[in-house]
């Protein structure tokens, strides 16, 4: 009987057999539900585990990088930053507003359950083309969902990224990053401890929402499993209760009476109870009759699997439970003792007086070494270079309007990025910068990935994401501290997807090892696939950096009459996966741009140095769209024109050279800047000047192109809402 149901809980025949062998008997229905959830891809990492171990996890400043809800790195003798990025892809496609909102809620709980006060959020959004069904609706509802939740809990959303591609037409990706700070001694763990201590349930009452969410997140979409199956997985966010939970939890933790805690995220009560006990090497008894329920007739399976939001499980010292409950009570957050810690390493579940589950707290989940198969990416398409200045201008105007390049203000003006009054560099720059009150350190955060590069070569593409993130930190003068990542891929049972995955992880490992940056947390999201259409490999990288002084320069031209200089060597033929290929040729192929990490280390150091020495007045790195687009982006905010001359063919103005920064400096500092670059062996070339005119001009090898800053600025400002036909 149970045997017939194992598929309902996401287990394969083999997994079921191995479960029976481990238990020495057939599981009960509830046990099957619990194991189905714990062994889901989402909770167990069964396909990814063998690869993830190659990432560098240690470093001088690393305090926590494994086994907890998020990673922690130290900022100074006292403070640590705790951060992580996570996906909420499936739910956001089904119900964009609630899906995105609950994504924010979930990642915040990962941070404050570790004892940290959340101080920043970031969102990484991957949408389909505007012509894909409902895409405009998805874009506006996802952004509203993130905004409404983040704004209501009072945590600023300080940046993010957007990428648009047909591979996301039926699988949008919504990743959310959160960061919190606390003192080193203030870090809390999810390791349950202490015989006789109580399990305290806090937060919203349990309802039917999100039952089987973890199992759903471990399956692909198809035409058959639409509506009815998906129905119960939609969760509703309640940011008001989340805000109370943050305050009440931080207050409760400050008493010292809480031993351990975990968010009831994917697989709800099942994962939180079994995982906490397993980590602490203890057992527990959980009484479902004491779980606060929103409706009466929930089955025990539903109670164990519900993913009702804004709930957490705490392990509280046995004689202090009233004190802790009082704090939650003061904040208006319901709480209930639902169980106890035992020492037999068994997880027992009681329901209506009888024991309905009694299994070891840790049953080794299956681990798969799935088949991998490399593929050969498409040939590089011919370039059809622009024939004259007019054509260069047309290409530039097309690219400046793309959702990747266009001003993202339509998005971030819906996010409160200033609350908590720490945001020194708001959204719109290469990286966000947050000061820490009463401290002399600031935190920089950036997120990056270019999925087209990753599709053409998942290793190089991922390496590039790491390099780009490190550059973005350098442009605000910060040193990298740590990395977190969210690996969004297709179906792991597809050998080509598994190969992409393996190569991407290798890219992170190689990149982080070379740059000496530890990976402190991460998340894997497989099955981002509808029927045969899989997303491009999308390893979202979020990098956190530290800066000792508060001095920064903007990423835009401030005024005319300054020198424009390129730091790093321009390359003329980096078109693989470029915006030029994607939007002008409508084809992607060839190799992604070359990444030379060794030389980038030097260049990044140089950039930090010249910022600190106040030798430059603005800085921005070349990324999507190439040199011309980088110059244009710098000219818009203050409407400053430029005149530049370069010895490269017209089409190479759109070549996506890696590891190059555009900087400006006062005329009088130019010699010093070039001399310094020379002596440190950093490539440096003078490109031209900024001008106090509504005009930009670029002289290239075969000709010259010139146009108005204001007309391009208009395209840039309106590009995003226009592309998606947003109000």
């Amino acid at each position: 009987m149970a045997k017939k149901r194992f598929r309902d809980f996401g287990l394969s025949e083999n997994e079921y057999t191995s479960l029976v062998a481990k238990l020495g008997r057939e599981p009960t229905n509830v046990e099957l539900a619990i194991i189905g959830a714990l062994w889901s891809e989402h909770c167990s990492y069964k396909s990814s585990k063998i690869y993830l171990s190659s990432m560098p996890r240690t470093g001088e400043r690393v305090v926590v990088s494994e086994g907890e809800n998020a990673g922690a790195v130290e900022l100074d003798d006292e403070l640590v930053a705790i951060f992580k990025v996570e996906s909420h892809n499936h739910p956001s496609y089904i119900e964009p507003y609630q899906g995105a909102a609950t994504g924010v809620g979930g990642i915040l709980r990962d941070i404050f359950t570790m004892g940290a006060r959340p101080i920043a959020l970031m969102d990484q959004l991957f949408f389909g083309e505007s012509k894909a069904p409902k895409m405009s609706h998805l874009v506006s509802r996802v952004v509203k969902g993130i905004g409404d939740y983040g704004n209501r809990v009072g945590v600023p959303t300080v940046g993010g990224m957007v990428y648009v591609h047909r591979c996301y037409n039926f699988n949008i990706l919504v990743n959310v990053f959160a960061l919190g700070i606390t003192s080193k001694r203030g870090i809390f763990s999810s390791k349950a401890k202490g015989l006789g201590n109580y399990l305290l349930y806090v937060g919203n009452s349990t309802g039917l929402d999100g039952v089987k969410g973890a199992i759903m997140a471990s399956d692909r979409f198809s035409s058959e499993n639409s509506r009815d199956d998906i129905l119960p997985t939609v969760q509703i966010g309640d940011p008001f209760v989340e805000k109370l939970l943050i305050e009440a939890t931080l207050e409760a933790l400050s008493t010292g009476y809480v031993v351990a805690l975990q968010d009831m995220g994917a697989a709800g009560l099942s994962s939180s109870s079994y995982e906490m006990a397993a980590k602490g090497d203890v057992g527990f008894v959980l009484d479902l009759d004491r779980v606060p329920l929103r409706e009466e007739n929930l089955t025990p399976e539903a109670i164990m699997l519900s993913e009702t939001q804004e709930r957490m499980l705490l392990v509280v010292m046995k004689d202090k439970v009233e004190e802790v409950k009082n704090i939650f009570n003061k904040w208006g957050v319901p709480s209930a003792v639902v169980g106890k810690i035992t020492d037999d390493r068994m997880g027992k579940v009681l329901y209506k007086g009888s024991e309905i589950a009694n299994i070891p707290v840790y049953l080794e989940p299956p681990v798969y070494k799935r088949a991998v198969e490399p593929y050969v990416p498409p040939q590089k398409p011919s370039l059809f270079p622009p024939k004259n200045g007019k054509e260069v201008e047309e290409i530039a105007s097309t690219l400046v309007s793309t959702p990747e390049i266009a001003n993202k203000e339509w998005i971030f003006s819906q996010y409160d990025y200033m609350v908590r009054t720490n945001t020194v560099i708001p959204p719109g720059s290469d990286a966000a910068l947050l000061r820490i009150k009463k401290k002399d350190v600031s935190l920089a955060i950036t997120s990056d990935v270019n999925p087209a590069y990753c599709f053409l070569d998942p290793f190089i593409g991922t390496l590039q994401a790491i390099a780009e993130a490190a550059r973005n930190l350098a442009s605000v003068g910060a040193e990298p501290l740590g990395v977190t990542n969210c690996l969004n891929f297709g179906n792991p049972e597809d050998p080509k997807v598994m190969w992409q995955f393996a190569r991407a992880v290798d890219g992170i490992s190689t990149g982080c090892k070379t740059l000496g940056i530890p990976v402190v947390s991460g998340n894997v999201s497989f099955y981002n696939q509808t029927d045969e259409n899989s997303v491009y490999p999308t390893p979202t990288i979020v990098m956190v950096g530290i800066k000792k002084d508060g001095y920064t320069v903007p990423n835009f031209f401030r005024k005319g009459g300054e020198k424009i200089v390129a730091i790093g060597a321009l390359r003329q033929e980096e078109f693989g996966g470029s915006l030029y290929q994607r939007y002008i040729l409508n084809k992607e192929g060839g190799r992604p741009p070359t990444v030379d990490l060794k030389s980038e280390i030097k260049i990044n150091d140089f950039v930090r140095f010249v910022i600190k020495k106040r030798l430059i007045t603005s800085v921005h790195d070349i990324s999507e769209g190439g040199l011309l687009l980088a110059l244009l982006e710098m000219s818009f905010p203050q409407s400053v024109g430029f005149t530049v001359a370069v010895e490269i063919p017209a089409v190479s103005l759109f070549s996506e050279s890696q590891g190059v920064f555009i900087v400006t400096c006062e005329d009088t500092n130019l010699d010093r800047l070039c001399y310094l670059a020379d002596s440190l062996n950093v490539h440096c070339s003078v490109l031209g000047d900024t001008v106090d005119q509504d005009l930009w001009t670029v002289e290239y090898a075969e000709g010259v192109v010139s146009s108005r800053v204001s007309s391009f600025s208009k395209l840039w400002n309106e590009g995003f809402s226009r592309y998606f036909a947003l109000e």
Partner: protein
């Protein structure tokens, strides 16, 4: 002199105000819980921004019925300084301490950006360090900031000089595109008849330090310090 920052469930600019009052302008500042019923010994009472009760009904509506609000009303009647910022402004109108109501922004989106405003009344305890007609720049971040009153009440506000701040462009012209939320008569902030209760949508506490992009908000607090300590 002492300042109180009232904390409602869902307030989230309480810390920011505490920082400015306590650490920047050096007032002796305390948090006061919404369930308290007394506000003795406070010369300044601040209702901070945020989303009290999630703004789930109408913004500020539920908080306006909190136990502490009787004490706030009492303090206002006694002439103490009361300032409501953003959600605090919404609470003050819902509680009837200021006229009018704040409706959803005309574009129905949350708006987080910087705006210009013209100082219309510099004879209040909150604004006397500004020049009349001065153009200042402050952040806004709200979903329901469209100020509304009926025509009769609007005339009253105008006649009594109760309109303290109006949205404008950088040159001080009130032209449609710089009215971020569709407020009637470009109203960004108003005071009561006696001038001791101020409500405004922009966030002066977010622009008191250069590193945060501007200092035009600081004089709201230094005005208060000077007035209340003399």
């Amino acid at each position: 002199m002492r300042a109180a920052v009232v904390v409602f469930p869902g307030s989230n600019c309480d810390h920011d105000l505490f920082w400015v009052l306590n650490d920047i302008v050096g007032l002796n500042t305390a948090y006061v819980w919404h369930e308290d019923t007394k506000l003795v010994d406070f010369d300044l009472i601040v209702l901070p921004g945020g989303f009290s009760y999630g703004d789930y009904l109408r913004s500020g509506a539920i908080a306006a019925r909190s136990p502490i609000m009787d004490a706030v009303r009492d303090a206002a009647e006694k002439g103490r300084a009361v300032i409501g910022i953003c959600n605090g402004f919404q609470i003050l109108t819902e509680a009837g301490l200021l006229p009018g109501a704040l409706l959803p922004n005309i574009n129905l989106r949350f708006i987080s950006t910087w705006v210009y405003m013209r100082v219309e009344n510099n004879s209040t305890v909150f604004t006397h360090k500004y020049r009349k007609g001065e153009i200042i720049r402050m952040p806004i971040a709200h979903a329901e900031g469209r100020y509304y009153v009926d025509n009769g009440a609007l005339t009253e506000l105008q006649r009594n000089g109760q309109i303290v701040f109006r949205y404008s462009d950088a040159e001080g012209n009130s032209v449609d595109y710089c009215n971020p939320n569709g407020s009637i008569d470009f109203i960004a902030g108003i005071c009561n008849r006696a001038g001791n209760v101020l409500g405004l949508m922009p966030h002066p506490e977010r622009c008191c330090e250069r590193s945060l992009g501007g200092v035009d908000g600081l004089r709201v607090f230094t005005s208060l310090v000077q007035c209340l300590s003399s």
